[in-house]
Amino acid sequence: MSSHTAHPCVVTIDGRSKPRVLFSGSRLVEVDLPVGSRVLYPKPPMKALPDVDAAIRYAIDHPEGGAPLHARLRPGMKVTIAIDDISLPLPPMKRPDIRERVLKIVLPMLADYGVDDIHLIVATCFHRPMTAKEVERMVGQAVFRKYWPDRLYNHDAEKPGGLTEIGTTDQGEVVEISTRAATSDLLIYLNLNFVPMDGGHKSAAVGLCGYRSLRAHHTPGAIRASKSYMEPGASELNHRVVRMGRLLNEHVNVFTIETTVDNRMFGPELDFLARNEDDWTPRQQMGAKALMATLNALPWKARQAIFEKVPAPYGVTGVFAGETEAAHEKTLEKCNEQYAVPIDGQADIVVTGVPYISPYNVGAFLNPLLVSVLIEGYLFNLNRGVPLVKKGGTVIAFHPCTDHFDKTQHLAYVEFVHKLLPKTRDAMELHKKYEREFASNPAYVQMYRTGNAYHPAHPFFMWYWGENGRQHIGRVIIVGADNEYIPSLLGYETASTFAEALQMARETAPPDPSLTCLHICPMLMADVKPLDDDEQARRGLRLLPGGA
């Protein structure tokens, strides 16, 4: 193999390597990668803060830019605290949630300074409203009992008169947010930052906005122009959000509190799943076999419950507060420190598991549209530098692609997938021809406002989310699909086995292609350093000739 020293999280497969264990929805599958493949593993969890409460106090007393929180308070002022929803982290973290811990420090401070007019808004934007139980779990029982539902509630982006226009950027983007937040003397934004695309100006300018503002950046054009959402400097989406956020901060007094977590997604009983299979102990190997057999024998609800019933033991790695951009800079450093795994060279073929979970199906089934969001949206964008897969390359993904939707959260998705996608997969056409009408569907809007459904515009945004991946990736081959229809509707090919998929991928790849496997979960990002083909060949970053 290569003499070049790879990062410890980049493992090259040789003749003695064991099969890799990847997610295929809520199942685990063994994948026998060919010799010469590289596997990208998550970094081990960073060291968590030993005293989180002290870190919170320190952050709000020593902010990154601007005055400390206490110096901004005065008796009788009107304060709104906006809070990230439970789309992050994934899966939900063990109690106490970091948002509860911050509130337990901030709310008494407000009371000490004579601030009584306080509203807490869950910044859901077009996400589904959180249930009362979920909100209670997130903010803690004491806060919930005191404020819910009159002063602690979900943002309603469709409430007549509920939004206030702040202004328009020099690029014509309308900035409009919750009237309560816009008319407050102080807006505190409490963020939980999971990946680099979260937080910063995206928090208030997106989390509390309505359709007019979303239309400025949640478009196929903005997504196509974004090289990676996870690299803010290379994201057109982020550029637009920053312009809007800066305008917002000129008019509204915003104090940002951002928090970061490690990638400890699994408890001690399952954390071996994040590690190199060749390093598993015999007991872990047996445990993996038993888990796979159990998952295969169970229906999907029971399978998902195995992973979801135990909240993730995420550790808090950072708390940063103050001016939005200054605090977010620190947050990004932490995120990249935890997630970014350096790897040299792109791959002709990328192999990835597709897990059961995404930010948009907490407590629900990962429906076909969300499968495409994961493959061409999130997983494709988990990179800095250049994408892990070469332009026109092939992605082999493992997922059953079951034609099933949660009827409470994702009803509008059903119509999108089964009525619109058969007409066209062209994001531009969907955007121009169908989005506006679909987004104003009275029943779907009512379900968003009074039920627990995503806004009817959301499935469109989800389709756009995969747009830069769709433009870049040549082929997506699904292994393990339980039907042909959904993959073809999404524009994918299918193979019954990995060997078959690899054979198909080789047909359009160069001779002796390079292959990289993204070993997710937990979360990781590929920090890809581009290499030309000759350099890749010289370093031996290719499959052995004819290897399978």
């Binding site: 469709e158 007549p160 939707f405 009827k407 009803l411 509008a412 059903v414 119509e415 089964h418 009408e437 104003s440 569907n441 009275p442 029943a443 779907y444 809007v445 009512q446 379900m447 406002r449 009074t450 039920g451």
Partner: protein, 242 residues
């Protein structure tokens, strides 16, 4: 009897129509509620007693018709209006609205209809109730048009028969298809809302069918056909939304 409401905005100004069943869908009433009120408000207690007694005797037939044929059910039900004067029916209709219907308008109804207007949809109520009964509700909710049953009148008195077409069950599908064609709306772009399995034909002919607080038979069908189920907030009696 004439049209219960007049369309002030031309139908062509809208991009499509939203057809709403009324009883059980927008209001917590059924066809019997208004009728019972009318029967109890006859000029003399004796007349009321006689009409209620007659209605009770016909109850088994009504129940059987409800199970088998919605149109027959409507015809039997409204036969009890025979002999009532048109003037009195109009007066009673307003009273019935105030005392029986208005307190039962679902909290979510007004929000949903307001959203229809924001979505550029013409709102039409399609109901087996009598046009005179539903007219005050339609005005109150700001509906653009009403498709309802009409009593046959002869010499100022109700004959107890319904004018054709009788608005019920499968006929609703044809009636709304005719209405959409008449106003130039593509049925595929139209919406329909109902709570009852008897309205499956109406739901089936539009491009956007929705079930509101559906009965178990409709809920089963909604699951099978992936029709959206909307559970409107029924908690508030009376004047609708906050």
């Amino acid at each position: 009897m004439g049209h219960p409401i007049t369309e002030t905005t031309p139908a062509t100004a809208y991009r499509a129509t939203a057809y709403f069943d009324v009883d059980g869908t927008l209001v917590g009433t059924n066809l019997l509620h208004p009728m019972l009120h009318v029967l109890t408000q006859q000029p003399t207690p004796l007349q009321s007693l006689r009409r209620i007694g007659k209605a009770l005797l016909a109850a088994p037939m009504l129940a059987a018709a409800e199970l088998r044929d919605r149109r027959r059910f409507n015809e039997l039900l409204f036969s009890h209006y025979e002999g009532m004067s048109e003037d009195r029916l109009v007066v009673l209709a307003d009273e019935t609205y105030r005392k029986v219907i208005a307190p039962r308008v679902f909290r979510g109804t007004r929000d949903l209809l307001a959203q229809c207007r924001r979505a550029d949809l013409r709102v039409v109520l399609v109901t087996g109730s009598l046009d005179i009964t539903v007219a005050p509700l339609a005005r109150e909710l700001g509906a653009d048009h009403v498709i309802a049953n009409r009593l046959e009148m002869r010499k100022g008195k109700a004959t107890g028969k319904l004018l054709r077409p009788v608005v019920a069950g499968p006929a609703k599908a044809r009636i709304i298809a005719d209405d959409a064609r008449e106003v130039g709306h593509d049925l595929g772009a139209c919406h329909a809302y109902s709570d009852s399995a008897s309205d499956v034909p109406m739901l089936s002919v539009v491009g956007h069918p929705f079930c509101i607080n559906p009965d178990w038979r409709l809920r089963d069908l909604a699951t099978a056909y992936d029709w959206a189920v909307l559970d409107l907030d029924r908690s508030s009696p009376g004047e609708g939304s906050e």
